[in-house]
């Protein structure tokens, strides 16, 4: 096991990794930018080190700063969290070159799964159904020809993007023509890579993902699925497990196929395979996330497995220590992403000084957050304030418990989406378990906001 881990991230996940290290009895150093000097992780850590200015490119995205911080504090491993450098094979490689462990897949594994398009081909070869898509697009003419072959509507997707970033929907050739160049230059600016591909757009789909864990010895398990269909502009806002969209046989079949394919393709460490599931229950693989995910907590609630601790153990070269038959998912869990954004004003990100702050308690309630009263939310990073997760023996009780917990959650000083969550919970489509990924964008948030302010 490691001696000491550098936590190369911020916000709630930095606190989460710190908790995992403490439970494992290993040291931890929180690396923070100047804007995060007063962050909860930096405050409660035994050790914390300032790695650079607020600008992430010079702090959380700066490999030399992070590696130097790990070395001067005597760390032997770096946990990258999610986002930032968590899936960067170059970073993983240079970490290893400095005799440090990267807590995640090896550089080779990250490289193999770095291109979405190549990953789709690789996993298709191992038996997963994929969304009909194009090769990398050479030019506009090629794009038009490929779109014709696949059939509209199609999504233009940057190869370097992730989490829905930079995607554009086009419904016909005219839209494709007017969008292609913009998409290319946006991709270049956002990801430093202007490669684009097309993917058939499955309307009324659900987003379902399978959690897997694979150790160095080839032991591999899945931890069932998460349904992340409640999205706004391809950003997840509510996740739940199990999915209400599939029956028991479909769920297990999807999980087993995903695990088999990804293991055969040589994956290692924690990973998540994302699928779009159509209204017939057919699942199309879309991408893999080679890191811990925001929504890992609901899987922890139903399985009882500390996934961050497991990830650290795998990276330290330990065997999984659990077999598939040991993993039982019990009950139903829902995560609500608490975001500093104003649903009434087009979800504009909000800043502010946190005033009164009080988290809910009671059975089956978990709040992972980096907030505290008096905390000033920096404007440099994302709008995630925390994750309220609830568990109950069944979905209806989980929803009731979630609503009760959301009512208790108090975050003064900054506008949040707490009331939007309550409105979604009260919506019949959600209660029926029939939310699709486009629902919020199609309906707009206005009805929910209006309902929420009742």
């Amino acid at each position: 096991m490691f001696n000491k881990v550098l936590i190369a991230n911020r916000g709630e996940i930095a606190v989460r990794i710190l908790r995992a290290c403490r439970t494992l009895g290993i040291g931890a150093v929180v690396a923070y930018s100047e804007a995060d000097r007063d962050s909860l992780a930096a405050q409660i850590a035994d050790e914390a080190i300032c790695i650079g200015p607020a600008d992430a490119r010079r702090s959380y995205l700066c490999a030399p700063a992070l590696i130097s911080a790990a070395m001067v504090t005597g760390c032997d491993a770096i946990h990258p969290g999610y986002g930032f450098l968590s899936e960067d094979e170059g970073f993983a490689d240079v970490v290893r070159a400095h005799d440090l462990a990267f807590i995640g897949p090896s550089a080779e594994v990250l490289e193999r799964f770095a291109s979405k398009e190549a990953t789709r081909r690789l996993l298709a070869a191992h038996g997963l159904r994929t969304v009909p898509g194009s090769a990398m697009l050479r030019d506009e003419a090629h794009a038009l020809a490929e779109a014709e072959r696949i059939g509209y509507p199609v999504l233009i997707k940057p190869s370097g993007g992730g989490g829905g970033k930079g995607m554009r929907l086009v419904r016909n050739a005219q839209e494709l023509e007017s969008t292609f160049k913009v998409s290319r230059s946006e991709a270049k600016a956002a990801f430093g890579d202007d490669s684009l591909y097309l993917e058939k757009f499955l309307e009324e789909n659900r987003h379902i993902e399978i959690q897997v864990a694979v150790d160095r010895f080839g032991n591999a398990v899945h931890m069932f699925e998460r349904d992340c269909s409640v999205q706004r502009r391809h950003q997840k806002i509510i996740e739940e497990t199990p999915t209400p969209a599939l029956n028991e046989a479909q769920r297990l079949d999807l999980a087993e196929c995903a695990l088999k394919a990804v293991t055969a393709a040589g994956y290692e460490n924690l990973g998540t395979l994302e699928f779009l599931v159509d209204n017939k229950g057919d699942a199309y693989f879309i991408e893999i996330n080679c890191r811990i995910q925001v929504e890992h907590a609901i899987t922890e609630m139903v399985t009882g497995i500390d996934m961050v601790a497991l990830q650290i153990k795998i990276a330290a070269g330990e065997p999984l220590g659990i077999a598939q038959s040991d993993i039982v998912a019990t009950g139903h869990a829902i995560e609500f992403r608490i975001l500093a954004e104003d649903p009434a004003k087009d979800f504009r990100p909000q800043a502010g000084l946190v005033g009164a702050y009080l988290t809910p308690g009671g059975p089956g309630v978990r709040m992972d957050s980096h907030l505290y009263p008096g905390y000033e939310i920096p404007t440099y990073y994302d709008s995630l304030l925390g994750k309220l997760c609830v568990w109950a023996p069944d979905r209806a009780t989980a929803i009731a418990r979630g609503d009760a917990a959301l009512r208790e959650l108090l975050v003064d000083g900054v506008t949040t989406n707490i009331e939007l969550h309550r409105a979604i919970l009260a919506n019949q489509v959600f209660l029926d378990g029939k939310v699709t990924t486009s629902l919020l964008d199609r309906v707009g948030s206005a009805p929910f906001v209006a309902a929420g302010s009742r």
Binding site: D38, Q43, A48, G52, A65, S68, V72, K345, Y372
Partner: protein, 200 residues
């Protein structure tokens, strides 16, 4: 529930409230707290609040962790609110200064990166430097990044030893402003670092 925009009338009312607060309430508040032995008192006037708080036991603790590898005490900013903790941090730094420096702003060359601190071989207390002069380097994975003097001045005490690990933004070497009066006894207030005190 969008925050209401402050209009001009509101601003005017706020100013009036502040004046009345200052004139009437604060003296009473202060007298009350001094007499009571309480930790904190708050009074209120037309929607404004004034609060007076005594030092808690956490006061003396640093808000942010000391550099690389040192143990800090938990919950600094969390206990006092971040803005407050920053003020405490400033005070803490101020308190470690020499008494003579209290009235002056503190100036120091800071670390440009996380790494190992290496001062220039010839760096010595009392040495005259110009803004932008390289006075040391921080070694970041084999690459030396320059530590430069932020102002024209005179090298003061070193705050870290050569070879020590430093974090980004850490104060490394104090820079004293040249004395307006040429009193030789007042040029180099920090003497604890070995070195020849060159005359400014």
């Amino acid at each position: 529930m969008p925050a209401r925009e402050q209009d001009a009338a509101q601003v005017k009312r706020d100013h009036a409230a502040i004046s009345s607060l200052a004139d009437e309430l604060l003296p009473a508040l202060i007298a009350k707290l001094a007499a009571s032995g309480l930790g904190e008192i708050e009074v209120r006037e037309g929607g404004w609040k004034a609060r007076l708080r005594k030092p808690a036991t956490v006061e003396a603790r640093p808000a942010a962790k000391p550099a690389a590898g040192a143990q800090g005490s938990a919950h600094g900013a969390v206990r006092g609110g971040a803005a407050l903790a920053r003020a405490e941090e400033r005070d803490r730094r101020g308190a470690s200064d020499e008494a003579t420096a209290d009235a002056e702003p503190r100036i120091a060359a800071k670390s440009p990166a996380v790494g190992i601190y290496n001062p220039r071989k010839d760096l010595a207390v009392g040495m005259k430097v110009r803004s932008g002069d390289r006075i040391a380097t921080v070694n970041v994975l084999g690459v030396n990044e320059d530590v430069v003097a932020p102002v024209d001045g005179v090298i003061g005490s070193s705050l870290v030893e050569a070879g020590e690990a430093v974090e980004y933004g850490q104060e490394l070497v104090r820079i004293e402003l040249p004395e307006p009066v040429a009193d030789p006894s007042a040029t180099a207030p920090g003497r604890e670092t070995a070195g020849t005190a060159g005359k400014a």
